[in-house]
């Protein structure tokens, strides 16, 4: 009898811990949610690499994300999208030169397809990334740029 009551209390405590999780998640800033959720499979790409329309498209199709399911609960998804939009390449009326080369009718989904990127990284860099098991993909910025997560790309 006593054991059962103790077990019940322990079980309720465990359930209580589980119930706490969403509340903790809600108190995280959108930037923190982005940094945590979008760095699980690759480094968190700087929002400034793509325009708002790209981030909207990416965040609107997370369950089919470049061949993988990267879906999130709505609350987290919405917060991250807001963060991406307010830090995008064209946020606050910005219009960088490289973005002007992309017609507004086009919505690039990859940084690695942008004209400036393919200029800096030719077919050989791409093939090298793919064939080197330590890099694996041209999207693995850190495979070649050790400072990539800090936004440093001119260290090589």
């Amino acid at each position: 009898m006593r054991r059962h009551i103790i077990t019940t209390i322990l079980a309720l405590a465990a359930v209580g811990t589980m119930a706490m999780q969403p509340a903790q998640a809600a108190s995280k800033s959108p930037g923190t949610m982005f940094a945590e959720e979008c760095s699980a499979c690759h480094m968190a790409f700087d929002p400034g690499f793509l325009p708002k329309r790209s981030w909207r498209a990416i965040m609107g199709n997370l369950s089919n994300h470049f061949g993988e399911d990267a879906s999130l609960d709505d609350q987290t998804r919405n917060a991250i999208e807001r963060y991406l939009l307010s830090n995008a390449a064209d946020a606050n009326g910005r219009n960088p030169y490289w973005l002007r080369r992309i017609p507004t009718s086009q919505t690039p989904l990859r940084i690695t397809e942008l004209p400036w990127f393919t200029n800096e990284h030719g077919a050989r860099a791409r093939a090298w990334a793919k064939s080197n098991p330590k890099i694996g993909s041209i999207s693995n910025c850190q495979g070649c740029h050790r400072g990539a997560a800090r936004g440093v790309f001119d260290d090589d």
């Binding site: 322990l10 079980a11 811990t17 589980m18 061949g67 993988e68 609960d73």
Partner: protein, 139 residues
């Protein structure tokens, strides 16, 4: 005793559900509670590490061709570090190597949903999830 039948019943159910008799070395109340929930959902009283192992290492159809198996990213030995398709290192899945594993119910639910869809093109059943966690807790 008759005065508290509900209390006794719920206590017993929870004791069974919590899987009291398993893996004392790596037991963790949060992980036990997650497995208990899968038991309740699947309507079973125990899971099979052998079945979990088979599922985890099998080549599945129905998902993305690039990722036919859990081992595509988590490797053939879940005690080892794995790697994503973008080259990011994944910590070992085996609880013996990584005691933090399967202790956050939201994280577990999120990754089962994602990875089962990616590998099998469908969600995993509570039975499959329980078998997998039992396997990964046993090695």
């Amino acid at each position: 005793m008759k005065l508290f039948p509900n209390l006794i019943l719920s206590g017993t159910l929870l004791a069974v559900a919590l899987g009291a008799p398993i893996q004392p070395a790596q037991a963790d109340p949060a992980r036990d509670a997650i497995i208990a929930q899968f038991k309740a959902q699947a309507g079973v009283s125990s899971f099979s590490a052998a079945r979990g192992k088979k599922f985890f290492h099998a080549k599945h159809a129905g998902g993305k061709p690039e990722t036919p198996s859990c081992t595509t990213c988590h490797t053939n030995d879940p005690r080892n570090f794995g790697k994503t398709r973008v080259g990011k290192v994944i910590d070992p899945m085996a609880v013996s190597r990584n005691p933090q594993r399967f202790t956050d119910p939201k994280k577990v639910a999120k990754w089962f949903r994602r990875n089962c869809k990616t590998v099998l093109g469908r969600e995993c059943t509570a039975q499959e999830k329980g078998d997998i966690l039992t396997y990964l807790s046993s090695i």
